[in-house]
Amino acid sequence: MDGQTGPRWDLLLVVTSDQYGSVRFGTVRRLIDTALRSGHSIQVWACGEANGLTELGPAGAGHSPGEGSPAAGSRSRGGKRPAAEQIGALAAGNVGRFTWLACQTCSGERGAGEHVPGLPTPSFSDLRDYVAQAAKTVFIGGA
C-alpha cells in the first residue's frame, strides 16, 4: 500500500467464479477492455481458476489453470498460456490503469508456481486494503 488516501482505482473486480477463470475468461477480458476504453482504472483480484491464468509453472505443477478452456488456459508452443500473455501485456501497457492481482493465498493452497513477472501477488489478508483503495468493488461470485 502506498499510503494514499481515498480511492485510487475506479473498480476492484474480484473473480472467484471458476468459470470466469476458464471458459468465460473472455468476458473478464471484455470488462477490462471496457474499463480502459472508457477511461477508467481496474484491478482484477484473481482467485481459484482465475488465479491459475497467470501461472508460469511447469505443466502438471499444482493445478490445471484454465482447464477446459483452450482459449484461456492452454499453453502455446512457447509454453505460455494465451491468457497469461494477454494479461501480462495489458498490465505492462497500462500501468496505473490496470493490474491483475494473483491471490497468493489461492496460489499457496493450490501449489501453484510463479506468476507472470511484475504482477502483484497479495494475500487474502490484504483484500481489505485493496477494497479501500477502490471506489467500487464488484464480486463475480462462485465457489
Binding site: 473498480l11 468465460r24 468476458t27 471484455r30 471496457t34 474499463a35 477508467h40 467500487k136 463475480i140 461470485g141
Partner: protein, 122 residues
C-alpha cells in the same frame, strides 16, 4: 457506442440507490423461477432504480416474453442483453422479449463504474 439510457438518471450524475443486477446464469430448469430476477422485480416495484444486464448464459432469459424479464419490465425496471453473448448463442434481436434492449458492455460502463450504482453479479 451510445450509453444506455438509465431512465431518470442524468448521465454523469450520481443516482443514489440505483441497482444493476448482472445475470450470467441460465434459467435453472422448467418450472423454476430465478430468485435473482425476482429480487430485481421487487426492487423495481418498490421504487429502486433497477437495471438488469443479461450476459453469458443469462441471455437465455431474454427470449421469454412471459417470464422473469417481463416481471422486471412490468415493475418499472430496465433489461439489457449483452450483444456478444446473444451472438455467441445465435439469438437474434427478433427473438427477444418486448422491452429487452441489446447493449454491449461499453453501453453499461457508466453504471458499472459509478460508485453510486450498486452492482451484483450472479
Amino acid at each position: 457506442m451510445q450509453s444506455v439510457d438509465t431512465g431518470n438518471a442524468v448521465p454523469g450524475e450520481l443516482h443514489a440507490h440505483a441497482q444493476l443486477l448482472v445475470e450470467s446464469k441460465s434459467p435453472p430448469g422448467p418450472g423454476t423461477v430465478s430468485r435473482f430476477l425476482r429480487a430485481a422485480r421487487h426492487l423495481a416495484a418498490t421504487g429502486t432504480q433497477t437495471g438488469v444486464y443479461l450476459i453469458d448464459d443469462g441471455v437465455d432469459y431474454a427470449v421469454s416474453a412471459q417470464g422473469e424479464v417481463a416481471w422486471v419490465l412490468g415493475a418499472g425496471g430496465r433489461v439489457w442483453a449483452d450483444e456478444v453473448s446473444l451472438s455467441e448463442r445465435g439469438i437474434k434481436t427478433g427473438q427477444l422479449a418486448p422491452g429487452v434492449v441489446v447493449a454491449g458492455l461499453d453501453a453499461i460502463a457508466e453504471q458499472l463504474f459509478d460508485p453510486a450504482v450498486r452492482v451484483v453479479w450472479h
